[in-house]
């Protein structure tokens, strides 16, 4: 982005500028100033709601493949096929090909955060707080408004898998690029490609100290931080069969990769580079594979070529390793099936992961066909992010994901990009059980429209979207309400808040 454009943007009301600009075709109008794309048409109510006493396959799909149903989603998905199974299959096909889903609402929701599209070097011109705010808000807004829901769910998954806390060093600026070019670029793509992008992500090189992993002289000891987490958290898993020696050898293979830093140079800031004379040229053995020493007579060019190639050799050894397949399959099944997933599902997913060369959509398709997935319903505790987003979606709230929403996420310890260690936010229920007070508190604040001016629900309209109060309850529960739930709702005098605070809405 050039300077004039930024100054133009800072000049004042974008809305009034857009109005002026619209009538003048000669001006190069930045896209952000143009009116957003027309939102998708919301179907007319009253909506069909789940009628069974248990969660049916359509509700189950909306619980797990999305951040929760909006008022009309059950009806829309159910219509995709003559049976629940056919409807689910059609919905899955759609969601696994996000590039074919028209998504004006998701795009409009984040248009204002154009900083997220900035190239690497430009990011440093922004205040770190501004960047973090944009990242967090865009993440929430996409989860709430995007039609590409399974994609956003997977973004959330990989964002934890390759967790980076941007409070460390230049990751403050560079995490924006990592989110875009690693996580979002590959979330429903190919795992080895994502792994490589992550290994060469400047934010990751900062976060796990890869940038200072070097062998410039005999005294230099490689920094093992990234190598360890690469094996333990990104690929093989802690019991994946590697040794401390393997960690050290991987670290040696990755010596020489670094990032141009803020205080060193203004040119090429944040760019990843390979420094051949900081690369360890000795022989290495990684998980039994020998990587030959780089010949003494090799010139800089040759060292660079061979040194760079060692990164790909290492990733080639571990990227589709059976231990990696099992580790990832377990994590995916924990996410989509249960905290303790059935072994049959894990092995089916692991097998498909390897057979497909780490193709994520193919792997997920296998997961969603397992008996474990199909039969284990309503048992997963929503993590706080999922809870907040699902409540906003269920009530068709408007929101800009600003202060009030972030405040609740922080209180519950689940704000995006705020987890300190590389293992990412925990997936299992136990660590999140203490968050009920804030969930209930949020349910009340949302339904009373006490979350600031930009987060609002229209309770009257919402009620009118369903044939009866039981219909509204069925929408929020994913099944017909029980007699006890109907009674409790009547006694509470606050059906909507009660349902959002109820045990069933905490789960998915």
């Amino acid at each position: 982005m050039n300077l004039t454009r930024r100054h133009f943007l800072q000049a004042g009301s974008t809305a009034s500028l857009a109005a002026v600009a619209a009538g003048c075709s000669k001006v190069d109008v930045p896209e952000v100033l143009l009116p957003g794309r027309r939102p998708l048409t919301v179907p007319e109510g009253p909506y069909v709601t789940p009628a069974g006493n248990d969660i049916d396959l359509v509700s189950h799909a909306l619980n797990r493949l999305t951040f929760g149903p909006r008022p009309w989603d059950y009806q829309s998905v159910r219509k995709l096929g003559p049976t629940e199974e056919a409807a689910f299959a059609a919905f899955l096909d759609q969601q696994l090909a996000p590039e074919r889903i028209d998504d004006p609402d998701g795009e409009n929701a984040v248009r204002r955060f154009e900083v997220l599209n900035e190239p690497l070097g430009e990011l440093f011109e922004y205040q770190e707080k501004h960047l973090l705010d944009a990242l967090v808000r865009a993440t929430v807004l996409r989860a709430v408004f995007s039609e590409r829901q399974l994609y956003e769910v997977m973004v959330n998954f990989w964002s934890d898998h390759f967790n980076i806390d941007p409070s460390k060093g230049d990751a403050k600026w560079l995490k924006v690029a990592d989110d875009r070019d690693v996580v979002r670029a590959h979330a429903l793509g190919n795992f080895p490609a994502m792994l490589r992008a992550s290994a060469l992500s400047p934010a990751m090189l900062w976060y796990l100290d890869g940038r200072v992993n070097k062998k410039g002289n005999d005294a230099d000891k490689p920094n093992e931080n990234y190598a360890r987490e690469l094996l333990e958290l990104h690929t093989l898993g802690v019991h994946g069969g590697y040794t401390q020696k393997d960690v050290m050898e991987v670290a040696r293979c990755l010596t020489g990769w670094t990032v141009k830093e803020t205080h060193h140079s203004q040119f090429g800031l944040g760019n990843v580079e390979f420094k051949p004379f900081q690369h360890d040229r000795g022989e290495k053995v990684v998980l039994g594979h020998v990587i030959p020493r780089i010949p003494k007579q090799a010139n800089a060019e040759k060292i660079e070529e061979l040194g760079r190639a060692e990164l790909d050799t290492v990733l080639g050894i571990i990227g589709l390793h059976p231990a990696t397949a099992k580790f990832l399959a377990t994590k995916l099944c924990q996410r989509f099936i249960a905290d303790e997933p059935p072994a049959a599902a894990v092995s089916a997913v692991a097998e498909k992961f390897i057979a497909s060369g780490g193709d994520i959509p193919t792997t997920l398709r296998t997961l969603f066909a397992t008996e474990g997935f199909l039969t284990t319903r309503g048992n997963k505790l929503k993590r706080p992010f999922h809870y907040i987003v699902s409540a906003l979606r269920a009530t068709h709230a408007t929101t800009d994901a600003s202060h009030a929403i972030q405040d609740y996420l922080l209180r519950m310890g689940h704000a995006p990009f705020h987890y300190p260690t590389p293992d990412g936010y925990p997936e299992k229920a136990a660590p999140w059980l203490g968050t009920l007070l804030w969930r209930w508190n949020f349910a009340v604040a949302l339904t009373k429209n006490e979350l600031g001016n930009e987060t609002k629900i229209d309770a009257e309209k919402l009620n009118a979207s369903f044939k009866s109060e039981e219909g509204l309850m069925a929408h929020l529960l994913g099944r017909a309400p029980t007699a006890d739930e109907v009674t409790a709702s009547k006694e509470s005098g606050a059906t909507l808040a009660l349902m959002l605070a109820a045990p069933s809405f905490q789960k998915c």
């Binding site: 806390d165 941007p166 409070s167 460390k168 060093g169 990751a171 976060y207 505790l381 405040d407 922080l410 209180r411 519950m412 310890g413 705020h418 987890y419 300190p420 260690t421 229920a429 136990a430 660590p431 059980l433 203490g434 968050t435 009920l436 007070l437 804030w438 209930w440 508190n441 009340v444 604040a445 009373k448 006490e450 006890d484 739930e485 009674t487 409790a488 709702s489 006694e491 509470s492 005098g493 606050a494 808040a497 009660l498 605070a501 109820a502 045990p503 905490q506 789960k507």
Partner: protein
């Protein structure tokens, strides 16, 4: 209080850590004066604390008379003074030094947040961590639950929440799993907070909190501790210690607040103080030598206070290096002889024996100080 549980499930065993951060670089040398060191008087001919006016702690150190209230817990063996303490940061920049001290290294998140995350407990109550400040401090980043406390009203289900609460109780009663148990704990906590809000708080033992924000913040903390809502970590800020000129005018009101707040808190909590540890720290101390404007510039070592929680107090813990020119660091600063992590580590371990200290203080070889004797 009839019930013995708290929302973290360990009831009266629960310990609370209260961290008071003196922002701006508090002058440890004039808070706890090294009366035994001639270097101190030579370097500060105009602003040193006179030995005759100080509240004597041991043969060597004396409290600034404004902090004389702290002599009470000190003499009761419940206040430990740590001198020439601080961090390894030598930038003498407020921002850098606070950042380092709150994060505990070039790592992500804050040490208090990591402590709560890795303290060895499986679940964390909604009110386990509270910041009494404008925004969540860096130290609490990454905590499993952390709330900036504005008002006790935040901790309710709003006006008319009674019927909603009753209905929730019914719905969750059917759940015998972890979620149901957590709901019952939460409903208990809501009842306790309601009691706290509905009753006028009378501090115990005639404790008298001043009107300033710091004392009032401590008063709310005392209420919540006594109500056993599951408070495990509290962060309070007391800012404005940057005494470059006319040091007394800047420091004295702050020391009054610190002295008044901590004294009232100590008195109010009484025996409960055994379950509560208060740690007072600052990002760096001040230059040993006074400047031309009766002030002091950014330095290195300062003091820490540790109060309550079974600490072996009545001592000044120090590896006093002396204030001779060859000892002073850089432009003339008291060296840091005790790293703040080595004071915090044993405290965290006492509060949670299972804590993973390597994760709380990564890339640092702990040499824990004998805080408990």
């Amino acid at each position: 209080m009839s019930t013995q549980t708290s929302i973290t499930g360990n009831g009266d065993q629960l310990k609370t850590l209260v961290v008071v951060f003196l922002r701006g670089g508090a002058d440890g040398l004039n808070m706890v004066a090294p009366m035994h060191d001639d270097g101190y008087y030579r370097a500060r001919p105009r602003i040193a604390i006179k030995a005759a006016e100080a509240a004597r702690l041991d043969g060597n150190f004396g409290l600034n008379p404004i902090l004389a209230g702290l002599a009470t817990p000190y003499r009761a063996g419940e206040l430990l003074v740590v001198h020439a303490a601080g961090s390894e940061d030598s930038t003498r920049s407020h921002f850098e030094a606070q950042d380092l001290m709150e994060r505990a290294g070039e790592v992500a998140g804050g040490w208090l947040g990591r402590y709560l995350r890795f303290r060895g407990a499986t679940t964390t109550g909604a009110l386990s961590a509270i910041a009494v400040s404008r925004a969540l401090p860096e130290s609490l980043r990454g905590a499993p639950a952390a709330t900036v406390m504005r008002s006790l009203d935040d901790f309710t289900l709003g006006k008319g929440g009674g019927p909603l609460q009753a209905s929730l109780k019914k719905l969750y009663a059917a759940h015998t799993d972890g979620l149901g148990a957590s709901a019952r704990d939460t409903l208990n906590a809501l009842d306790r907070i309601k009691q706290v809000r509905d009753t006028t708080y009378v501090p115990a033992h005639g404790a008298d909190y001043e009107r300033d924000d710091f004392a009032q913040g401590l008063k709310q903390v005392a209420r919540l501790i006594k109500a056993r809502v599951g408070l495990e970590a509290v962060s309070l800020d007391l800012g404005g210690w940057d005494s470059h000129l006319t040091q007394a005018a800047i420091m004295d009101p702050n020391m009054r607040r610190l002295n008044g707040g901590l004294s009232a808190f100590y008195r109010d909590l009484g025996k409960t103080m055994e379950q509560v540890t208060v740690v007072v720290m600052t990002e760096f101390g001040r230059r040993v030598g006074e400047n031309s404007a009766f002030g002091t510039d950014h330095g290195r070592g300062s003091v820490m206070f540790v109060m309550g929680g079974g600490v072996k107090g009545g001592r000044v813990l120090s590896h006093w290096p002396g204030l001779t020119p060859e000892v002073l660091e850089g432009p003339g600063d008291l060296p840091v002889t005790i790293n703040y992590r080595d004071v915090l580590a044993p405290i965290l371990q006492r509060h949670h024996p299972q804590v993973d200290l390597a994760k709380v203080f990564p890339a640092y070889e702990l040499k824990p100080e004998a805080v408990y004797g």
